[in-house]
Assembly symmetry: C2
Homo-oligomer: 348 residues x 2
């Protein structure tokens, strides 16, 4: 039985993590959840999971949560808030793994606090590792904690790397579905609306990451993430467009062998893998049917049309805080686009 | 440095193994070679490798080899013959690994003798394991020797199995290029000649295995081989037609994840992997270029048109000596077909 903390439990990944925990009650015990705001979804999770702790971002949200759940019978949940809440939880509760599914750069502090306390980190918040990869790696190593990626691509790489030793690794191949606009002509980007960008062909995800997928900024962040997670040079991280989103990523070894991980485009896969590692949860995803899928296609990415790929590489080459700048600048403009303040191509 | 013995050194796999050994002289030292007959190819290998031992099938062949090489300067090779020769070599020479690339059922005795002496076995001779899988597994286990498959499919499975634990394994997926006649209409098989059957679209191999590939008897043998090598039930071993022969096989785990191994259709890959395991030889094969390959296709096998698949499954279900009977009967008829004694469909 593993004791887990699901942070960002009302987001897209968090909700799937709760689903996984409820599917395997004999393997996972949810000791704590955290969310930015009190919502009906959070209330439902408290009722279903009866966690020891629930952490809200702010005191006002925490007070709201307390009063909204005070009438529930049998609920023993203690409410905390903010960074102090994280610290209190981590020092008081016997956690085996923290799933960080907080959206955006505000997820960084939990990654740091968890690793500092020697807790294994199932990391869905790629911004943590993009912004402070070197620091988190050092803290993890010093405190003997593992970082297990929950991103489907990095989960795939993490799995494939078991097939060889580090000195025999040649390159990582990150696959990308290409998002909703891969076939659009360059000039047609000016007509892209918020709703069009939020309609991903393969993955149902949160808003921020869905916009990032439509611009391929997400793949840029993933190059940086892969660099820090697996200690691989940017020039040895390739991106390959694969519209079917069946191959989630691949590893090439020095002998010319390539190992690929495939599965349904279902985030329960990477979540379950991170929470069950080194075992696997039985019956977690629908199996693939290759004869039905028929074909898998691969093509080079168009880095002219999608400049974020090369921008991310440049940020890595510059190093120091440049990946954090790339990450924050992207987040700022995505927010502006989602609030209809700028167009898809950035015109005001 | 690993000391190796290449048995069947003048066959298709054996010649590639010699090539691999010459490519990595700082990793591999060929201490012995064996062949059925003395040929110019064997003479060239003796000159290039100067092995401590060379074993021929019969005394007449051995005497011939001795006299044909007696004039060569600097060659210190000792000639032996038959089973006694294998035994003498194995007890006298400090071998790390025996590559058994003998063709057909006559390869069985060497597999047995090597494992009995506790030598690791790189196994290209699938007939050994098909005919006596249970016995070889027991002998290997008792003498703490590993069997590492050299068949491209089983090498792929062996690699992919590193990504999970045995209790989490769901099934093995053997890929098959389909051979030269996959698209032929059922009735058209009567017109198939020896030359047509020897023309494989993807792999350059020996005659026996090329005929086996054209009938899919090879894939039947591989189902049996996979059963014994990996202790997986016949019903959990699937066959998938994959004309591009890029994916060499796949493993499905209980969570719905599939791990695939891919590479050029180059037997140097599986040979090198077996000889370098758990490391990998750098620069062994040409890398794959996925954007150039473009697409990978998969379809269900037609078991009506290619009855060997179900015959092999039935042989496994019957068990005991039936896999050996399947193997020997197939070998008998392949020989008759190659000698133009019967047609492709078996009419005399």
């Amino acid at each position: 039985m593993k004791n887990i903390f699901i942070a960002g439990s009302t987001g897209s990944v968090g909700k799937s993590a709760v689903e996984v925990a409820l599917l395997y009650p004999e393997k996972l015990s949810v000791k704590a959840i955290a969310a930015g705001h009190f919502t009906e979804e959070l209330k439902r999770q408290i009722i279903k999971l009866n966690p020891s702790y629930c952490i809200l971002s702010l005191k006002t949200e925490m007070d709201n949560a307390k009063s909204e759940t005070s009438g529930l019978t049998g609920i023993k949940t203690k409410f905390l808030c903010g960074e102090d809440g994280f610290s209190e939880l981590i020092s008081n509760e016997n956690l085996d793994i923290i799933l960080n599914a907080i959206s955006g750069s505000s997820g960084l502090m939990l990654s740091y606090l968890g690793l500092k306390a020697g807790k294994n980190l199932a990391l869905a918040n790629k911004e943590s590792i993009v912004m402070a990869g070197d620091i988190l790696n050092r803290v993890a190593k010093f405190n003997k904690a593992d970082i297990i990626p929950v991103d489907s691509e990095h989960s795939a790489l993490f799995q494939c790397l078991n097939c060889g030793n580090k000195p025999d690794l040649k390159k990582l191949i990150l696959t990308a579905s290409g998002g909703p606009f891969y076939d659009l002509q360059n000039g047609a980007f000016t007509g892209v609306t918020r709703d069009m960008a939020l309609n991903h062909p393969k993955w149902k995800m949160g808003k921020k990451i869905t916009i990032d997928s439509s611009t391929l900024a997400n793949k840029g962040l993933e190059i940086i993430e892969a660099h820090y997670l697996f200690d691989v040079d940017e020039k040895d991280i390739e991106v390959l467009i694969h519209p079917q989103a069946v191959v989630h990523s691949m590893v090439e070894f020095m002998d010319g062998s390539v190992i690929a991980q495939m599965a349904q485009a279902d985030i329960k896969g990477p979540i379950g893998y991170a929470l069950s590692y080194p075992d696997r949860f039985h019956g977690l995803m629908e199996p693939l049917n290759f004869a039905q899928i028929g074909r898998l296609e691969f093509l080079e990415p168009d880095t002219q049309k999608f400049p974020f790929l090369n921008l991310a590489r440049e940020a890595l080459r510059v190093g120091r805080s440049m990946p954090a700048v790339f990450c924050e600048a992207n987040e700022f403009f995505v927010k502006a686009f989602l609030e209809n303040k700028i167009s898809f191509t950035g015109a005001g």
